[in-house]
């Protein structure tokens, strides 16, 4: 699915990713944990193609294509999805217009016909139920005036609609109460499939009680310093990130 080799990236003069190696197979869920500033959100952004970072070394292969050669919109159309830690508010553009534009862009890229407006609307409304979003939110500006939890559920809605091959959840649990967390986790679990993989970026182990990872990686100073199974997350919860740093040192 995704193979990252020796990935280094800078923002300005600061090297944030200092050589990441990571292989993600189809159907796998990988959790990436680490302290603030360890580079875990940057990894998500660099994979999604955000401006402001320069990749200085390394390769990323996504489904047989060189991901780093693609524009951000083409990465999305190839099946990469980034659920934002801070979803952006777009007053004046309705959620429905936004979703339809995204779905049409995906369909056209695949060479499919764009979904017709009526059936698309129906599907969006159905998914609202799964994501626990009031369908009236489809008519509101994108994320405009949404609470933190509503924004995260709106990310989930977009993910369910676009059906990505690889979804990167960037601190989706931050700012969520336990009920919202359960909704988001249930949505993700619903989407788990043999040909769909997830990277779950999180600071806390709590989310991993609900989305069970196959692998857990600890990021520190721009490198993966420890990898393991889900028990690593529990160990981190107990001993703190300092323990990993000491062990590595």
């Amino acid at each position: 699915m995704l193979t990252i080799k020796g990935l280094k990236a800078v923002a300005g003069d600061t090297e944030i990713l200092q050589g990441i190696d990571l292989t993600i197979g189809p159907g796998e869920v990988h959790a990436i944990m680490g302290t603030n500033g360890s580079g875990k959100s940057t990894l998500g952004h660099v994979l999604a193609g955000r401006d402001g970072y320069a990749v200085t070394a390394g390769d990323v292969d996504f489904l047989g294509k060189n991901l780093l050669d693609l524009d951000p919109e083409d990465r999305a159309r190839e099946g990469l999805f980034l659920a934002f830690q801070y979803p952006v508010e777009i007053p004046g553009v309705s959620n429905m217009e936004f979703l339809k534009a995204a779905a049409d862009a995906h369909a056209e890229y695949r060479g499919d016909e764009a979904p017709d407006a009526v059936s698309f609307m129906k599907k969006a409304r159905e998914l609202c139920t799964v994501a626990d979003i009031d369908p009236s939110f489809l008519k509101r500006g994108v994320n405009e005036g949404f609470s933190g939890g509503e924004k995260k559920r709106n990310e989930l809605l977009q993910m369910m609609l676009l059906e990505p091959r690889l979804a990167i959840l960037d601190e989706t649990d931050s700012g969520l109460d336990i009920d919202a967390l359960k909704v988001v986790a249930a949505g993700v679990n619903e989407m788990r499939a043999a040909d769909r993989s997830f990277i779950v970026i999180t600071h806390y182990q709590r989310l991993l009680n609900y989305i069970e990872p196959d692998f857990v990686h600890v990021l520190s100073r721009g490198r993966i310093v420890k990898s393991g199974d889900k028990s690593l997350a529990l160990e981190l919860e107990e001993k703190g990130y300092g323990w990993v740093d000491q062990e590595v040192a």
Binding site: V88, I90, G92, E97
Partner: protein, 437 residues
């Protein structure tokens, strides 16, 4: 520019209605005593008047040779169902006009008015205008040969909007047009007025000088839209002057594409307690067009409210000026006034001069004002692209979103529907706007 004063003063404007003859002559005299503003005149500091120099706008346009039927697509607004008056190059068009006033609204052209209407026009015309501040108003007085007088009776609920179109076409020589409208809204009435400036697509050398005066009586509710959709070579200097009596409400919307010279002054006088003014506006200059909106809200009495929002998208080498002044006089306690101006620059060469001004001489008031100038945010663009939407389509959706909130507030729904695709077309290919229309 000194030549322009005399050239304009000597324009052949046709005979005035008799009851306005003395007033018109006084206008010309007043205009002749003026000197045009320079870059040092504060209220005109950023307005480039040089395009007026280039053409002798003294002549009248040719009266015939225009196929008026062919102009219909430019003026029809589907679903509006309005009473419509149309002026082509300043001359009333019987062919294109269609009005049958009922429900307590009377519409009379200045040229046709007599008896009581003539007396009322003569008694009210120019009364709201500070001639020192609005110097082109004197020239408008001096050019007036026709105009629209609208009278709405007390308690009348007029559901049919009044749509007044001023259309210009190409002529073989430069010409000038005076647009004039006077509206008296009676007590407790409700009505909607749309002033629509438009032109054929071909380049033209026309200078329109416009003045609209709206007198809104106690507890009346007036919706007013003023649209400037002319071809960029058409010059316009115009003023809208409003007086609001006790508990009356004005809901107004301004829209302007840019041009060689386009300057609109909107002045609202709160004269009776409890009056409310909502004023929203959009301006969209591109290429090397300019547009200036100067608004003044005079709070002279207590307990009035103002909510004013203008937004502009300035593209290419376009230039916009927004000067929004709210003046709260010493007696205007309990005023609530809010002014917001936001600008989006879509090119490194685009320019805006924005100056919100609050002058407060009362102590028990709530006021807020703010102005921003920005480009499309990288965060927003990336959010769209991360969902597979192309950068180009994202730009169009975000730009339109920026003004769409104000289109939603256009007080006449059919007009909002009419404007949406035209606004989108200002900054988009059809393929890029399919998700917002």
């Amino acid at each position: 520019m000194a030549d322009f004063i005399e050239t304009a003063a000597s324009k052949d404007s046709g005979p005035p209605p008799k009851y306005l003859a003395a007033w018109r002559a006084a206008g010309i005299e007043s205009w002749r005593r003026r000197s045009l503003p320079t870059r040092k005149t504060e209220a005109w500091k950023y307005t480039n008047l040089r395009p007026l120099e280039k053409a002798a706008y003294a002549a009248r346009p040719e009266a015939d040779g225009i196929d008026e039927e062919s102009l219909r697509p430019l003026i029809d607004i589907p679903g509006l169902g309005a009473n419509r008056l149309v002026f082509v190059n300043g001359t009333y068009s019987d062919t294109l006009s269609d009005y049958d006033c009922a429900d307590g609204m009377t519409v009379v052209r200045f040229a046709d008015a007599n008896g009581k209407d003539a007396e009322t026009i003569a008694a009210h015309i120019g009364r709201l205008i500070d001639g020192e501040r609005h110097l082109f108003a004197a020239l408008n007085d001096g050019w007036t040969e026709d105009g629209v007088f609208v009278r709405i009776e007390d308690h009348a609920i007029v559901t049919t909007p009044l749509h007044v179109v001023w259309l210009t076409t190409n002529a073989s020589h430069p010409f000038g047009v005076a647009q004039r409208l006077l509206l008296l809204a009676g007590k407790d009435c409700e009505a909607s007025l749309i002033e629509h400036f438009v032109s054929t697509e071909d380049a033209q050398q026309v200078f329109t000088n416009g003045i609209t005066e709206l007198h809104v009586s106690a507890n009346a509710n007036l919706k007013h839209c003023r649209l400037h959709l002319e071809q960029p070579s058409a010059a316009h200097i115009g003023g809208v002057h409003v007086s609001l009596d006790r508990d009356s409400r004005l809901n107004s919307f301004h829209l302007g594409f840019g041009g060689v010279l386009k300057r609109i002054d909107a002045v609202v006088h709160h004269r009776g307690e409890g009056a409310h003014c909502e004023m929203n506006g959009i301006y969209l200059p591109r290429d090397s067009q300019q547009i200036d909106y100067h608004t003044t809200i005079e709070h002279a009495v207590p307990r009035c409210t103002t909510s004013e929002t203008f937004r502009g998208i300035i593209a290419d080498r376009g230039k916009a000026v927004f000067n929004g002044r709210i003046h709260i006089h010493p007696d205007a306690q309990k005023t609530d006034a809010r002014l917001s101006n936001r600008n989006l620059l879509t090119s490194p060469d685009a320019e805006v001069d924005t100056k919100p001004e609050l002058e407060i001489y009362a102590d028990d008031v709530q006021c807020a004002h703010g102005a921003t100038v920005a480009q499309l945010e990288d965060d927003s663009l990336f959010y769209f692209m991360s969902r597979g939407i192309s950068r180009e389509e994202a730009k169009v959706m975000l730009s339109f979103g920026f003004i769409n909130e104000l289109v939603d507030r256009v007080p006449v729904p059919a007009l909002a529907e009419y404007l949406r695709p035209r606004l989108v077309a200002r900054f988009s290919d059809p393929g890029l706007s399919r998700h917002i229309l």
